[in-house]
Every structure is written in structure tokens, then in C-alpha cells.
């Protein structure tokens, strides 16, 4: 095994690339859980939808930026509609804690089989946005991958700023920290829920659009991602936005290193074991609130 410095660096950087995607996906899930206490099992399907919208848009307008924007907007609307018309109804009955989960499972099935019907069992991919590789000595990385990191981290920074500094962002944080108190000061939490769900969908869609040149678009591209998203969310601490970012990158890099050291088939169990290990020591995740406040 030739562990040259450039090889290790390449693997780490690749890990950051996948980690950025995991972070985007996990961030959406954690925002949803934080404000609504719902595990959205259809999240991977929002990702998948984003991939397909990107595919279709690119076929019409060969502009990747347009594709990403269109994907984000359309999936935002779909996600918001799902929350407003379906998910919100199950929320009314506070008794049924499993109903929202089952509902999102139903949505996931409908979206995935719907995609299968419409697009068939195909794998399609699109051209790289940016061709070429960056080379520094022996180290090389495709510009497309660097783009993913730049756009992804940029998006995260914008979102973080939004949450931290704008009134709407604070309203979202308030809803996550104490829904009753938020209502008491006049935060329209119904609107917040719909908005957050929409944002999480948009984040997933953008992630899919960014990786569509690297990985094929298919009806199943979302299934493993939902699970990965949950793992990132729990590892980072449910409801913690910074935690999910951190956890996403950590898992991405950890997986990359595992692949480098062993075979790729052990990539998944390693991150799972990492998760279990952290949970045993710190059940609330890396940046989760202390137990009295997490349900």
C-alpha cells in the first residue's frame, strides 16, 4: 500500500467533498427535527427529485447554475407543500408520535415509485460543470469536486448567517428551542415549519444537483442518503445545525480514510461504528443539548 503524502491528501480532500454533501443533507434533516421533532424519511427522495429536476433542466438550458437554482426552487415548493398539506395534519394529534414518521415513509414510497414509473430503471448522468483537474505536484483533484466544496460550504455559511442574524432565522431558532415561548412572542410557527421543511428540501436538491455529474441519477439514489442523513444528524446532535455540519465532514473524511486503509465495502460499517462509539460516550451527539432538553 503506497501511502504517499499526496495520496493521503487526495483521500482527505475527497472525504471533505462527500462530507460537504453529507453536511448539507444532514443540516436539512436536523433543522426539521429541531423545529418539528420529526424524522423525515422522505428526505432522500427530495434529494432524488433534485437530481431529476437538474437532469431535465440541463437538457433544456445547458447552464448548471440555472439547473441548480431550478432544482432548489421546485423541490422547496414540493417539500413545503408536503408539510403544509400532509404532515401538518398528523401533527394535530400529539398522541400519535409515529404517525408523522409513517406519513413520510408513505411519501418516500410514492416519490420513489413515481420516479420509477416516470423515468424508468435508468441511470443517467450529466456533464461536468467544470472540466479538468487541479494538479499540485503529485496531488490531483477534479475541479468539479472543488466546486462542490466551495458551493456547499458557501451555502452553509449563508444559511448560518441567515439563522444567526435575520429575524426569520431567529424565529426558526426560537421555534427549535422552545415552541411554546415562540408562540407566546408571536412567532407564526406554522409558517416556520413549512419554511424549514421547504429549506431542507432545497438543500437536498442542491446537493443532488452538485453531485449529478459524479454519481448517476436514478430513482434509488436517495435511499441510502436518508439513512446517512440520520446518522449525520444524530452524530452531530439532533437539532444542532453546527453539529450536523461538523458531523457530515467528519463522516465523509472517516469514510475516505477507511476506504484508503481497507476495502471500500467496509466504508459504511466504519462510519456506523463511529456513530455507535460516539453515542455510547456522548448520547446527545457531538453538539447536542444536554439530555434534559432533547426528546
Amino acid at each position: 500500500m503506497n501511502l504517499s503524502a499526496s495520496l493521503v491528501l487526495e483521500q482527505v480532500v475527497n472525504g471533505v467533498v462527500t462530507g460537504t454533501i453529507y453536511a448539507l443533507v444532514g443540516a436539512g434533516l436536523t433543522l426539521v427535527y429541531g423545529t418539528m421533532r420529526v424524522l423525515n424519511f422522505a428526505h432522500g427522495e427530495f434529494f432524488m427529485l433534485g437530481g431529476y429536476v437538474m437532469l431535465l433542466t440541463i437538457a433544456v438550458i445547458a447552464n448548471p447554475t440555472a439547473g441548480i437554482l431550478v432544482a432548489a426552487v421546485i423541490v422547496f415548493c414540493v417539500a413545503a407543500a408536503v408539510q403544509r398539506f400532509l404532515l401538518r395534519q398528523t401533527h394535530r394529534n400529539a398522541d400519535a408520535t409515529f404517525a408523522p414518521i409513517a406519513l413520510t415513509l408513505g411519501v418516500s414510497v410514492v416519490l420513489q415509485s413515481g420516479a420509477l414509473l416516470v423515468f424508468g430503471e435508468t441511470y443517467q448522468s450529466i456533464n461536468y460543470f467544470v472540466e479538468g483537474t487541479l494538479r499540485i505536484g503529485d496531488f490531483r483533484i477534479a475541479w468539479q469536486r472543488i466546486l462542490i466544496v466551495i458551493v456547499g460550504l458557501g451555502l452553509i455559511a449563508i444559511l448560518a448567517g441567515f439563522l444567526r442574524f435575520t429575524m426569520l432565522g431567529k424565529a426558526i431558532r426560537a421555534t427549535a428551542q422552545d415552541p411554546d415561548a415562540a408562540r407566546a412572542v408571536g412567532v407564526p410557527i406554522g409558517l416556520v415549519h413549512t419554511l424549514v421543511f421547504g429549506i431542507s428540501g432545497a438543500l437536498a436538491a442542491i446537493s443532488a444537483a452538485l453531485v449529478s455529474p459524479l454519481f448517476a441519477v436514478s430513482p434509488w439514489m436517495g435511499t441510502t442518503l436518508t439513512i446517512k442523513g440520520f446518522i449525520v444528524t444524530v452524530l452531530g446532535g439532533l437539532g444542532s445545525f453546527p453539529g450536523s455540519i461538523m458531523a457530515g465532514i467528519i463522516i465523509g473524511v472517516a469514510e475516505s480514510i477507511t476506504v484508503m486503509l481497507t476495502a471500500s465495502e467496509w466504508r459504511e460499517p466504519f462510519s456506523l461504528l463511529l456513530l455507535l462509539f460516539v453515542l455510547l460516550l456522548r448520547p446527545q451527539g457531538l453538539m447536542g443539548a444536554p439530555w434534559s432538553r432533547v426528546t
Partner: protein, 327 residues
């Protein structure tokens, strides 16, 4: 006249008893139907349904009653299936022993996982923790190809051996013995159902129902909830280990995705929630309803899954507590 008085005075009790009797008779009739109709496809589906019902019952007791929101119960099913396959093929033991071995190993696994995970039984921790465990088991099964034959599947599992009955008859479980496999699956299901009702009616059941209705109050009474949750979790492991082994000997080929996949627990969750999680018979109703629905929709080809998902959504919109749950 005298009898009418007596019946009237018994009042509610007779009504309840009559209702239970009717359901029992209907249930037995429904169970007998596939045998009487004799169609092999129906028998195969019915056998599968029995396995699914057992899965739903075991998950319901843990998740619906104890609040253990596990997404990893499929691990025990798969462990049972693989133990059954390995003991019969690689070690040459009789499959009847394989059934027992599967139960024991799966039960042990449940005990180990439960001891670790159940200390802190919250949605996130339990759900994702058990899911992670199940996925580790699944991927290990796919990767340790020398033992498990990997993703290509473990073929050539022997069927259950014949049972010699008195009067020179034998009960055979050859591949073509659909009726016998079905009857055995019914027997297993009834045994599991009996133990399920027994647990619920016992002192353990009282505590479990207290946990379901008012967990903080139960805890305040000084009951060691974790111990009871663990017991239910291990029972689930034993039951699913048995089911998994039965499945292995019936279908005779298993793979990591068929016995350890996430879609197993997802279906079970959907069926139990639609039927009514935390109710006694909800899991059975949900399992039968959604399995039957799946079969009825088969002619629709790829539309089948879409309609399936839509029905689950509709069920959650109109009956969030399930068909048998409160309105």
C-alpha cells in the same frame, strides 16, 4: 324466560364474550381458508403473511408498548435466518436444531444490543442506534463471503426434515408441501401470539402498559423500566430468530437484502402504525390489510407501490392512531 333473565343480568359480559367468540371463530376460519381453497400461490402468500404478523407483533410490543422505537429488529430476523442456514449446511445439523440455535443466537444478540442501547430510550438514540446495528450486521453478512456467500445469496438451504407420525404416516416439508409449511407458520404465529397475550396479561404486561400510557409516572413509581424493556426486546429477538430460521428453511435461499434489509422494518413499521401501534391487535390487522392490499394491487405493476404509499399517507391523515387506535 329464566335464561333471558340470566343473560340480561350478565349484561355486558355476555356481549363481550360473544364478540370475542365471534372474532375467534372468524379468525380460525380465515386461517383455515387457504388450506381449504388449496391454491398454492395463496398458500405461499399466507405463509409469508404469518411471518410478517409475527414480525409486527414483536415490534409492536417493543415500540408500541415499551416505547422502544427500534429500527433494527430486522437484524434478529436475519441473524436467525443465517444461523439456520449455517447450522444446516456448513455444520450438518438437523434443521429442527437449527430453529432452536437460531432462536438462541438471535436472543443473545437482542440481549447484548438491548443492554447497551436501552439505557437511554429516546427516539433518536434508539432508532438510529438500532438501525446502525442492523446495518452493520447486514453489511457484514454481505462482506464475510466465506461464511454467508455474500450478496449473491446463500443457496441450497435444506428443507425441514420429515416428521414421523404414528400409524406410519409422515409429515413432510418438501418444497412442494405448501400446506404443511403454511400450517407450521400458523402454529408458530399462534404460539407467538399466545406468548404475546400472556406477557400482556401478566404483571410484566401491566408495567408495559403503564410505560405506554404514562412513562414518567411509571418511572416515578420506582419501577426499573429498563429491565422490562430489555425483557421485551429479548423476547422479540427470540421470536424473530425463530421466524427467520423458518423463512430460511421455507424459501431455502437468503441474502443480506432479503433478510436484513431496511425495507423489512419499514414495511413492518408502516403495517403496525396503520393497524394501530400500541393496540393489541392493530399489528395483525395492519399486516393482513397491507399484505392483502399489496397482492390485490399486483396487476397494476409499477403503480402498485405508488398506491401502497398513497394508502399509508391516507391512513395517517385520517386515522393517525391507526385503524384500531383512538379517533
Amino acid at each position: 324466560m329464566v335464561t333471558r333473565d340470566v343473560i340480561q343480568r350478565a349484561g355486558l359480559h355476555v356481549g363481550q364474550g360473544a364478540r370475542r367468540f365471534t372474532f375467534a371463530v372468524l379468525g380460525l376460519a380465515a386461517l383455515a381458508a387457504p388450506v381449504l381453497i388449496g391454491d398454492t400461490y395463496l398458500l405461499t402468500i399466507a405463509t409469508q403473511a404469518m411471518v410478517i404478523v409475527v414480525f409486527c407483533l414483536s415490534w409492536n410490543l417493543a415500540a408500541g408498548f415499551c416505547g422502544t422505537k427500534s429500527l433494527g429488529h430486522q437484524a434478529f430476523f436475519g441473524i436467525g435466518a443465517y444461523v439456520a442456514a449455517l447450522t444446516a449446511v456448513d455444520y450438518g445439523y438437523s434443521p429442527w436444531i437449527g430453529l432452536i440455535a437460531a432462536m438462541i443466537v438471535a436472543g443473545l444478540a437482542a440481549g447484548l444490543l438491548g443492554a447497551v442501547i436501552l439505557r437511554l430510550d429516546t427516539l433518536a438514540f434508539t432508532a438510529i442506534g438500532t438501525l446502525a446495528f442492523a446495518e452493520i450486521v447486514r453489511i457484514s453478512a454481505a462482506n464475510f463471503k466465506e461464511f454467508t456467500r455474500g450478496e449473491l445469496g446463500f443457496w441450497g438451504i435444506p428443507p425441514l426434515p420429515d416428521i414421523k407420525l404414528p400409524f406410519g404416516r409422515t409429515l413432510n416439508f418438501d418444497p412442494g408441501a405448501f400446506v404443511n409449511y403454511y400450517l407450521l407458520s400458523v402454529l408458530i404465529m399462534l404460539a407467538v401470539y399466545a406468548s404475546y397475550r400472556f406477557i400482556l396479561a401478566s404483571r410484566v404486561g401491566l408495567i408495559i402498559r403503564a410505560i405506554r400510557d404514562a412513562p414518567s409516572a411509571a418511572q416515578a413509581c420506582g419501577i426499573n423500566l429498563a429491565r422490562y424493556k430489555l425483557a421485551v426486546f429479548i423476547w422479540g429477538g427470540l421470536v424473530l430468530g425463530l421466524s427467520g430460521a423458518f423463512y430460511a428453511y421455507q424459501i431455502r435461499v437468503i441474502s443480506p437484502s432479503s433478510v436484513l434489509g431496511i425495507d423489512l422494518i419499514v414495511s413492518v413499521l408502516a403495517m403496525t402504525v396503520v393497524g394501530g401501534i400500541g393496540t393489541i391487535h392493530g399489528p395483525i390487522v395492519g399486516a393482513i390489510a397491507l399484505t392483502a392490499l399489496g397482492e390485490l394491487l399486483r396487476p397494476f405493476g409499477d403503480w402498485r407501490m405508488v398506491v401502497d404509499g398513497a394508502i399509508i399517507i391516507a391512513a395517517m391523515l385520517y386515522r393517525p392512531n391507526g385503524l384500531l387506535g383512538t379517533r
